[in-house]
Subunit: 242 residues, 2 copies
């Protein structure tokens, strides 16, 4: 085999390895998506039988995290990736940490919801929670899509969506505080709902974190600590007029 | 310069670069430690004038995170680090993400504490909070020390210490729920304290995460998803009888 062919061969193998890693991340994302969907059904629809599924999926998520991280280290050690590929690998490594913790939050929601809150979740809060759950699930779906297609625009949409989640979160917290004031007897039960809502809000934050990693990977600028509006202006400038 | 000397020269420069990164992480850790100390003084000693310091330090922490991450990518791209050094660099990258979020939690504590909780924090809760704050500060100090000296034993101590923090957390939550039940008027104010306590508990979790990254880096096994007791048994077996 000539050097040129050898070079091509190595580079093809390298791209295949990157693709494998990427598809493993998406697989992991799929498992976490299902964990979240089930946790929300436990919380909002009282389908407590699903809590066990959420807890059991944890082992899969954890072993995928370890496996992907090992794979990333191996690839970097074996190949000598250029800066762009390196950035992809660093992004993968940070993304799977976030995904694993999204799974943890889903677990917290599923655990908290099982006991002690019977009859305490009123229709108004349930409605708002359903809506908040839909928003967060959509964020997770979009951010995985943004990762799969390395799509900055979708990643930006996720960052924007987090604002809606935060607004909804504040509304629900207010409702729950009102409920506690009116019915002091159920405070411990309402607090369980409160923690679940908090976990949901944090879950949205973690989707936003992943989006920021993706934007950083693509644009090579660090948006984690820049105002969102400035980032949007920058992206629009780069894309030119529509 | 002979090839041998060139090789030595490159390897010395590489080690110097790693040392620089390591010392930057410790510098970042120092800033975060001060953020936490100040946030706790805002919360427990009502020194609300310090809240501004906590918020201002955020900019320093953020820019250190970006700087260190860039530096890590540059080092990996320029050198061809062996697996061990690569693991160090991946650990650095994950550690600074945790440190930055510890700073965020400190900011949350400092922000929440400023308003609305006057006269609501009773002596018992204040005493417990002071103790919990001391425990978490000690965790952060120890984990930075473990990082500086790549010391697995200290990292394990941190993981153990998190159990104490969790216990204290549960105790305080119980006290606050009791208080809300007895004095429904102050529920919104007590909830502010509740969120601060939650942030403190999460902060302990993040110190534990860093410890796990360090243990993983040194022992090359993934302890994030193994039971602590098994890890301890493993470490003791490796160290032999004392």
């Amino acid at each position: 085999m000539s050097d040129l062919h050898l070079g091509e061969h190595i580079s093809r193998r390298f791209n295949e390895e990157l693709e494998e890693v990427r598809s493993k991340v998406l697989h992991m994302g799929g498992v976490v998506e299902e964990q979240l969907a089930n946790a929300l059904r436990v919380l909002v629809n009282d389908e407590s039988n699903l809590a066990r599924d959420v807890l059991e999926a944890d082992a899969i998520v954890n072993s995928l995290e370890v496996e992907i991280d090992e794979e990333c280290t191996r690839i970097v050690a074996r190949r000598q990736p250029a800066a762009t590929d390196l950035r992809l690998i660093m992004t993968v490594s940070k993304t799977i940490t976030e995904l694993e913790r999204i799974g943890d939050e889903a677990k917290r929601i599923a655990k908290m919801s099982r006991k002690d809150m019977d009859g305490v979740l009123n229709d108004e809060v349930r409605g708002e929670l359903t809506h908040m759950g839909d928003l967060v699930r959509e964020m997770l779906r979009l951010v995985l899509d943004a990762f799969a297609r390395t799509d900055v625009e979708t990643a930006v949409t996720v960052v924007k969506a987090d604002r809606k989640v935060d607004k909804k979160y504040k509304k629900i917290v207010k409702l729950l505080i009102d409920q506690m004031s009116k019915e002091p007897d159920v405070i411990p039960a309402v607090m369980k709902i409160m923690w679940a809502v908090r976990s949901l809000e944090r879950l949205g934050d973690r989707c936003q974190n992943i989006s920021e990693h993706i934007i950083y990977m693509v644009l090579g600028m660090d948006v984690r600590h820049i105002k969102l509006d400035d980032v949007l202006a920058d992206i629009e400038a780069q894309m030119g007029p529509e």
